[in-house]
């Protein structure tokens, strides 16, 4: 994948490149970042007090929000040579319904992974067993050989259908994983 992305940059079209989801999610750091956003949604859902807002059987509420997580892959992993630092934006769209004494959460989280394949004057990239490479060298390739920076992206969706009960002291402890 790293060689493929490098070639895309050398080709100089500047077109957005879609990164294979299966390959991307095969990197542990991507799953960790995805889970950080999911846990943050859990915290936020817990603060919404749905058990107090939804008092009657059949009452429902929508919950929409989005969160971003930045992460860096380890220098021994291929993803590091694809993107270095990248971002996952997770967009949640849930419906919470009261069914008697239970609360049913259904909906999706769409995760967008994105990064720009580019180089920055004055920055360095470390290549394992080779050493530091100056970004300015890559900028010379752009200037004289027609290579061009481009956007990389990937997208996947998780669906949820979970049932929760209000705790003894009230409040909902929502676990999405």
């Amino acid at each position: 994948m790293a060689a493929d992305c490098l070639q895309w940059w050398l080709d100089g079209t500047g077109f957005t490149k879609n990164i294979d989801v299966k390959w991307l999610r095969g990197n542990n750091e991507v799953i960790v970042a995805e889970n950080v956003n999911i846990e943050r949604f859990e915290e936020r859902l817990g603060l919404e007090n749905f058990d107090k807002k939804l008092t009657k059987n059949g009452d429902f509420a929508e919950y929409k929000n989005e969160l971003q997580r930045q992460f860096v892959d380890g220098v021994f992993r291929e993803l590091y040579y694809v993107s270095g630092t990248s971002t996952i934006t997770s967009k949640a769209n849930f419906k919470i319904t009261r069914v008697k004494d239970n609360f049913v959460l259904s909906g999706t989280i769409i995760h967008y992974w994105w990064d720009r394949y580019d180089w920055h004057k004055g920055a360095n990239t470390y290549i394992n067993s080779f050493g530091y490479i100056n970004d300015s060298d890559a900028l010379l390739v752009e200037k004289h050989c027609g290579a061009r920076p481009y956007e990389m992206r990937s997208q996947w969706q998780q669906s949820f259908n979970k049932t929760f009960q209000s705790g003894f002291f009230g409040g909902l402890s929502i676990k999405l994983k």
Partner: protein
């Protein structure tokens, strides 16, 4: 022996109190951006995650930050106080740069405000409708 136990307990209580005070004291909320100036690969980025971000300099503050930040904080159930027009939040929250970066980007995210407007409409919550409409209109103007 008993005296030593009391001294150790007293030291532990004092240390815990200092830590508790430090984490919960109010500090000024400032906008946080992605650290584009990072010139070396970030090491131990999960443990020292704040290195990926930076406090915005005065000339880098996103245009709608101070206009919309209170609304974002309320919607995110983030505890804050205002003194002499300055917004303060607890240090433990301010020290989570990524969370503040999330708040900062939301202040300029028209799509997010629209999604909140649509959510309120479906949930029958009309307390914030005027305020949200004003914010959304502010993006268009």
């Amino acid at each position: 022996m008993k005296k030593k136990i009391y001294i150790v307990l007293a030291i532990l209580i004092i240390l815990f109190s200092v830590y508790y005070y430090w984490q919960n004291r109010y500090v000024e909320l400032r906008p946080v951006l992605v650290n584009e100036d990072l010139r070396e690969p970030a090491l131990f980025s999960e443990t020292f995650h704040n290195q990926l971000f930076k406090i915005a300099k005065p000339n880098e503050i996103p245009p709608n930050f101070y206009k919309n930040i209170k609304w974002v904080l309320q919607r995110e159930n983030q505890d804050y106080i205002v003194k002499n027009g300055v917004i303060y939040i607890r240090y433990k929250y301010m020290n989570d740069y990524e969370m503040i970066w999330n708040h900062t980007t939301k202040t300029n995210n028209l799509e997010w405000f629209k999604s909140q407007r649509s959510m309120d409409s479906i949930n029958g919550e009309d307390n914030n409708t005027e305020e949200l409409d004003r914010i959304i209109k502010g993006f268009r103007d």
